[in-house]
Amino acid sequence: MGLIKELDTGTPIRVADRRVSLTIDGVAVSVPEGTSVMAAAASMGTQIPKLCATDMLEPFGSCRLCLVEIEGRRGTPASCTTPVEPGMKVHTQTPRLARLRRGVMELYISDHPLDCLTCPANGDCELQDMAGVVGLRDVRYGYAGANHFEAETDASNPYFSFDPTKCIVCSRCVRACEEVQGTFALTIEGRGFGSAVSPGGTDFLGSECVSCGACVQACPTSTLIEKSVIEAGQPEHSVVTTCAYCGVGCAFKAEMQGESVVRMVPFKGGKANEGHSCVKGRFAWGYATHKDRIVKPMIRDRITDPWREVSWEEAIGRAAGEFRRIQAQYGRDAVGGITSSRCTNEETFLVQKLVRAGFGTNNVDTCARVCHSPTGYGLKQTFGTSAGTQDFRSVDHSDVVLVIGANPTDGHPVFASRLKKRLRAGARLIVADPRRIDLVKTPHVRADHHLQLLPGSNVALINALAHVVVTEGLVDEAFVRERCDLQHFEVWARFIAEERNSPEATQAITGVPAEEVRAAARLYATGGAAAIYYGLGVTEHSQGSTMVMGMANLAMVTGNIGRDGVGVNPLRGQNNVQGSCDMGSFPHEFSGYRHVSDDATRDMFEALWGRELSAEPGLRIPNMLDEAVDGAFKGLYIQGEDIAQSDPNTQHVVAGLMAMECVVIQDIFLNETAKYAHVFLPGSSFLEKDGTFTNAERRISRVRKVMAPLAGMADWEVTMALSEALGYPMAYTHPSEIMDEIARLTPTFAGVSYARLDELGSVQWPCNDAAPEGTPIMHVDRFVRGKGQFMITEFVPTQERTGPRFPLILTTGRILTQYNVGAQTRRTANLVWHDEDVLEIHPFDAESRGVRDGDLVSLTSRSGEISLRALLTDRMQPGVVYTTFHHAVTGANVVTTDYSDWATNCPEYKVTAVEVRRTNHLSSWQERHRVEEEELTRVDRGAEAAE
């Protein structure tokens, strides 16, 4: 096993209907029109020397190393900027070219430190390679002339350093920041010999840089290089795997020395990210070997006891014994399990199998409950299946993009880069969000409409948009007639045309001017291919499911379904939200979204699993907690989730956990929920196991083990051990066998196997006989349910109301550098950018409360109170405040409420009535948390120390 080296064609491969035939070095070659001579040569295996060219970037033509000779033309044009032409005869190696290239290299090297042996890029340096390729043997100019050797290294960024003495000013980093990432943080300052790369006149840490790593990846020398490479040296082998952060599901090469990761490099062949990355996936992987990792199983009788390290056998035996005792004492349905969107499909499938077949109950749920469960419900009702409609590539064909309740530059940065690229190319943008998210105005991108609605008014807004379409004659009648259920359409059209749904009538609810809504609706309906991308700002409301259906209605009525550039696309929060839902994690559904009451489906599972299965839906997470508080639910197995931090109304969650007699946590860290647990089973990071993740575009990608599990067992093996101890043995020897079982039981996965994934790289479900290579776009000729179904979406205000005591609305979310509950990212250098949760508040609201920027403020709701620092910003609208939930010590969810989506119980994180006032102390909950942080996490390692 060696390092995976991807082909670099120097300039991007073009897509064109017409092909051009030419001759390169006497060999005939045919390439798509628009391809550069350099890329054409690369396609036939000829590498033309280059330094400023790389195929992630548009050609630039500055290094003058890729010169070629073309018969019938004067001079020596740069092959990177010269497009192929029919009949062209190109020569890439001639004595004249060799002389010119050597001369160019002499100039570069005359101003380059000759410390190759101690340079961190030694062995991975394109400048070094090119010196060899052109046969550089001497530098006629010497090394005593003017140079840049005194320039200082900028090591301010925690993950990479910038050493300008090594820079050849090829501008690859500047162009990567512009073209790939779309941040425009870098520039070339100065002129002529004084030209230098600069992060805008400051250091990298203080600049606009978002640490995506694109510049580091593009750099041909060691100017921009990972600190981990400086420290460890060059990797010796690499393995392609899938990032364990957000739902984009980027493919990475884990570049290794033995079992140690040296760096994670985005894989160009990854279809979700095509070689790009963000600060989390690229750099924030150090948590995997953080000292806080728990690598020994632990048990305790009471949560106030210290943890006691024990053998796997004892811990598994304790867990199984307790679950059996509880079931014997309180009934079969007194226990349940929670699967994780951070774990693999195979692990998730096993947990729900253990609960349904091993426990004999359907009390299994997943963290998608608190994020995208309304997506599953809403899209299934309208389209027939619980998933987004497009692949990410589709946005390259969008003419209009409607972003609702999502903050892609922070939450899904790699998709955001792709989106911004399309927007810079001319696509129009509508943003519906209570905050002025970065996408509203970012370099070379400006939203045509920012519908800055009030939290809780989504459905009123989507109805108003649809009202305009229906009443202004903008319906795609042919699409509706051919593809949709006409009876439901007519009922819906009458409803939506009612005056109460007009932009004018809903303005008082949404706060968005009616004319702005009308203009946005017209643009969406008539601007060409229109796509909707949405996030938790849609789903985490009491009408989350209604809103999903409202968006589906809007897409159908304008014919924006079933082709490139359109669709309704959930941006999933965690890496495997889609997968955990697909795998049958919900209490009412088996894998593939089939209800447990369906006899034929249940028969199939019973036959394979050898157990009778319940036909009744089980408890959802909030229902489990409610029942626990009532004393009817006593035992819970949680794999890879931290409900005590992530779920709403923390005090209710904790009350539920404390009422249980056995809580089993399987995780890599002693998380917040573990404070209330009795058995701790150490989990494994994504680097320590094989499996698959399914991203937001339904893409199933391999996760590949690059190191042994630190605790000795991968998560799927732990679940198997627990199941066996419960008397329900499972006999898998590798996760591929679990996938084979998933494929046997799940029609949409019927064609999926590890062999197929290795062959295709990744595949989007449905993947079966009808679609052996997967399904990039769904509902092309017909909806999964047959005819698309319009649903009436009456606006119903949330019961959470502002008033004199709680006059402001709190909405919560996340930021670029932290992830979910922060368990991973808080254990990385990402803390440099975000070491505490802050409260964003409009200066008007702050001033009226005497709050200044940086003040400690009390945030109080009907559920609870926390203290945190205020950040004054006009990105908020007056009346609305915002915070994140990344830091356990802040306790953002102490403040959020029990209100939830009517259909799915997805919590209403996005609307909480609050008051803000200055304070000089932590809240009582935070004080108690400090104490419990000590008291409930003690580990007694005395026995081991004595030994």
Partner: protein
């Protein structure tokens, strides 16, 4: 689960279906509760109805009658 929470959840479902044609609305509420509520939650709903059903939306009351019938 407290009665208050159960009432809130049931009435929220009724709120969604209220704008549907009446027969569809009643069927929709019943089907939703049957498909997504654990048996003990459904039992709680029916017990509260038997005790007078205070606080229930009329649509829930109508739908509940169907919950007593076999699926």
């Amino acid at each position: 689960m407290t009665t208050e929470r159960m009432l809130t959840m049931a009435n929220q479902i009724a709120d969604f279906f209220r704008s549907f044609p009446h027969e569809e609305a009643v069927a929709g509420v019943a089907q939703h509760v049957r498909q997504f509520w654990d048996p003990r939650m459904r039992r709680k709903l029916l017990e509260h109805l038997d005790a007078g059903g205070e606080g229930f939306d009329p649509l829930v009351r109508e739908a509940a009658a169907r919950l007593r019938q076999p699926a």
